[in-house]
Symmetry: C2
């Protein structure tokens, strides 16, 4: 049987951004702390997959069959914002700038990694669009190669159906300095300029 | 009932060096990963306090009643190295520079925090010293205020018993530059100079 501390350090070091040394520090911290905390954290981790499922409508994480956002009558069901991951949805919700509904892809197109349109569950997005008479789909996938490829794919498919498809803006961030901004972002900021 | 993700983020953010954002990143990583991993990590954390106890002789973490170091016949039982925490012992063992036995205090004197000699379990260290006819106690507590206070306390008590008590050296670390070394360390390095 492996040494329990070594075993715990090994498991902790598989977390993102946690190396062997940090994992050891965390393990010793837990061991030096209260058993109640260790147990509560262990329990929460063990149970997380069982307690969290995907919303039937938007695929966001939820503990019910349909999430709170999808059930909220004050939100506009005719506008859907498409994101790659639940944490992207959470980031948008922190600002409450968007009052429509969401759809979480849980994947991005990446031909080099063999991830094609099948991975996106595009069919249930189409069902949503039809059932809720959606008028606009805002594609808020990241501004990465995969995010852009996915946005282009969605735009093609949705325009063929006559649904308006928009992309979140690319440009300088709030407080951004031109001097320290990369050329692609500068070109996009110029390209996306608006009337003053 | 609280949202399971929020609950997990709250528990993770109590780990050292883990803020709210890192905790959220870890939680989403675990949720996006395999349930088997989440379960294994949760199990390891839940069980760690039950599977790890303190060695009856040296108080180091072990899964048996007496740890491997205390049972190792090739090690010298007449020399004891006193450390504050199990991770300090682990650091010394990585270098295998010390071939004697250990004693883990699990505390340091800190009069300002109300931590006096009672917290150190000095009595069982004394029993060890007597039973094993220990000839030298090397105090390897940290070079902090609390570590130094604890070292002075141990030196006083042990000298009264006629046991040789030494302190690990203080000076420039391996590869250390004088230019970037603080004044206390420089003074100590001069003070602890040895014949060449």
């Amino acid at each position: 049987m492996a040494d329990p501390i070594t075993e715990l350090v090994g498991l902790l070091s598989r977390l993102p951004g946690v190396g062997e040394r940090t994992a050891a520090r965390l393990a010793y911290h837990v061991l030096g702390g209260s058993p109640d905390y260790a147990h509560a954290l262990g329990q929460a981790l063990s149970e997380i997959h069982g307690r969290v499922r995907r919303c039937e409508r938007c695929k966001n994480y939820t503990s019910e069959s349909v999430c709170r956002i999808c059930l909220d009558p004050r939100r506009d069901p005719h506008s859907i914002c498409v994101v790659a991951r639940p944490q992207d949805l959470a980031a948008l919700e922190r600002g409450s700038a968007f009052r429509g509904h969401y759809y979480v892809l849980h994947a991005l197109l990446s031909p080099l990694d063999g991830i094609g349109p099948d991975a996106l569950d595009f069919a249930s997005l189409l069902t949503r669009i039809r059932e809720d008479a959606v008028t606009e789909v805002i594609v808020a996938t990241p501004l990465s190669v995969e995010g852009e490829a996915t946005a282009l794919f969605l735009a093609q498919e949705l325009r063929a159906l006559g649904v308006r498809c928009t992309r979140i803006a690319s440009g300088l961030p709030h407080g951004g300095e031109l001097e320290y901004t990369d050329q692609v972002t500068l070109a996009r900021a110029l390209d996306g300029r608006r009337e003053l």
